[in-house]
Subunit: 399 residues, 2 copies
């Protein structure tokens, strides 16, 4: 029997999905499982997007342009201009989700063995993309005590080697919800220019900012045109994860011309998804107001509940719809599995994501979990009661 | 300015698309361009598939399972069973087109520096996927004189090295249209078992067989379960290239478990495309009868026309909707560009794909072109008249 690739063996199983069989078993035992483990919002996809797909009238579902349907890219450029990001349709390549956009960016800018610096904890799937591209992630620490702010510039300097090609941030952050300040982005600008690096910025949660704070894009900075690659997606913005439409955006012509060759090899992004995403650009502002109000209420329930639990701590981040919380537990993998396998309170339990999967450094995140606040307030309140009760009886508690 | 990756520099521009700007200029000059350069059929997508998308009634467009929607995979297993291919839903991972399925297969089974043997000419985008995965394609010659039959077993033996991990075939073949016989597949089985290799079989044109011949799948052979990875797509079968739905299929459990990790990293394949593809499985047989009759007539027009041209030769392949023809020309790249830049006959010209892009060996295919017979018979007849006239006046003719 021929052997599996080294790369395939190295590829991590998704930290979010490895608990799925335990959740299924819990459900079979009649237990209601609150899913706080995954970033699949329950918010409805805007009607205007769904309607466009229902009204699809072409007779042949053809390949689109490899960079995406022209009219969509032009309209999308208008969306960015509204967000003070001056780009044109030619600066955009539409990908099958942010996932494909990140792969295009890595393959275009980095070779196997090259290094990318990412503050940890970070979105676990970056590991998969990095292994895919043969790229090595060099983590630098952001800490729960500082609310997961950008690590100090000295941490970047320490991590930079001759193989460093890029720095990657996610802003607002998944998994921490942290929203970077203008000052922090200026620090990044300085490092990137000093060491002639690429700056990959995953800004898929751009709209999800709270507490009166606004999002600052790395695209706003002058002098970074050759360095910045923006990663985007409509998945969260319009609660349309299944359309698989993202984008890789850069003002660096050579980067875009090279990325286009990767895009051409896979022919085109999904046509129906692009139709939905183009129409979604007409989503009324009122949709976002309602969504933000809802998420703010959800965040407050989670943060306040956790901070009310003995031995637990949760920062109050101003973005996205995640928090990373510290719990009085020995091992978050064990705890999250135990919640599904052995625990229930009044017939209910919660599914969380162990934070270990978001750290590259072994041993980190053992007493942290990521919570996606993607359920209605009433369900979140029930979830938090479950969590509080669970911490009282978990055998590996560390009060 | 940070540098582009080595991989990005190596990545070939699509041989099919590099002529597009010349075609656009020709159209601006008022010339009608017959597109025989690309495998985008003009056949209508089955109504049953389009209707399913129009009737999409979910309120949230959610991620699907990373391997694809369960009900789709189960129904798809039924399609394969109808084709005497005994597989289950668990043997299938749905990809964003055959493109992603090929990438999954390469990444799962091969490491950077590993080699894959492919008879040339071959589908040009295999080059892109190979560079993407860091894999080296080792071409072995199939020749126009033999109609592009499978190379002799001695050619495979010569090409095998310690780094050889797989053999790849496309059956029926793009670009040659060649349909492999049972005997040829048996030869492949023998080599694959002898050297413990994977056999990747791209069978996306399975239904497109003519002259009373039927398609034999590598999945039909016993004893190859651990070796065979089937690549499939709905793009051509249902003329639905834009849905971006393909599949990677294998009975090798370890291969599928590993591939699933790559699939999980990119979350899920497109939901709308899967809805269309699942419904497309109900396409009535009459649709295919009509389509096959149409393609047969088209093939005959092209093959007979070319063989009637002085100094030209076209095999009569029994599958897909492509032929590779030999023309009395010095350089197919130059000729195809000249057709768009300098030639027209009665206000019309043709766009062909230079065969050089389908060969990995430099210098091969200089006097060959690939023709996709994806236009109506009347347009193909006009195209062939254009081609005949062009060969009379082309400055680089080699009569």
């Amino acid at each position: 029997m021929p052997r599996i690739s080294q790369k395939g063996r190295m590829m991590p199983a998704s930290p979010i999905r490895k608990l799925v069989p335990f959740a299924e078993q819990a459900k079979k035992r009649g237990i209601r499982v609150f899913h706080l483990n995954i970033g699949q919002p329950d918010i409805e996809t805007p009607e205007v997007a769904l309607r466009a797909v229902r009204n699809f009238s072409q007779k042949v579902v053809e390949y689109s342009h490899s960079a995406g349907i022209r009219s969509y890219r032009e309209k999308l450029a208008g969306y960015y201009q509204k967000n003070d990001i001056e780009i044109t349709a030619d600066d955009i390549i539409i990908g099958a989700g942010a996932s494909e956009a990140i792969l295009f960016a890595m393959q275009t800018c980095m070779d196997p063995g090259d290094e990318i610096i990412i503050p940890e904890p970070f979105y676990a799937n970056y590991n998969g993309f990095a292994i895919n591209a043969g790229v090595r992630i060099v983590p630098i620490p952001s800490t729960i005590e500082s609310g997961f702010a950008l690590p100090d510039i000295s941490e970047f300097e320490k991590a930079i080697s001759p193989r460093t090609r890029a720095i990657m941030i996610c802003n607002p952050n998944n998994p921490t919800g942290y929203l970077y300040s203008v000052h922090e982005l200026e620090v990044l600008k300085e490092i990137v220019l000093k060491h002639d690096l690429y700056l990959f910025a995953d800004e898929v949660y751009r709209e999800f900012c709270y507490d009166g704070l606004t999002h600052h894009s790395v695209m706003h900075f002058e002098g970074l045109d050759d360095h910045v690659v923006l990663i985007d997606s409509v998945s969260k913005r319009y609660s349309a994860c299944g359309v698989r439409i993202g984008a890789m955006i850069s003002r660096n012509r050579e980067v875009m011309q090279t990325a286009l060759k990767f895009a051409q090899a896979r022919l085109s992004p999904p046509t129906f998804g692009q139709v939905a995403a183009e129409a979604a650009l007409d989503t009324p502002d009122s949709y976002f107001h309602g969504v933000l109000e809802e998420y703010l209420a959800r965040r407050n329930v989670v943060v306040e509940s956790i901070n009310g639990m003995e031995g637990a701590f949760c920062p109050k981040p101003s973005g996205a719809f995640y928090v990373v919380a510290r719990l009085p537990i020995d091992d978050s993998d064990r705890f999250c599995q135990w919640l599904l396998e052995e625990f229930s309170f009044e017939g209910q339990t919660v599914m969380l994501a162990p934070a270990t999967g978001f750290y590259a450094t072994p041993g980190k995140g053992l007493n942290e979990v990521r919570i996606s606040y993607v359920l209605k307030v009433a369900d979140l309140e029930r979830s938090m009661i479950c969590l509080r009760e669970a911490l009282q009886v978990y055998p590996g508690q560390t009060f």
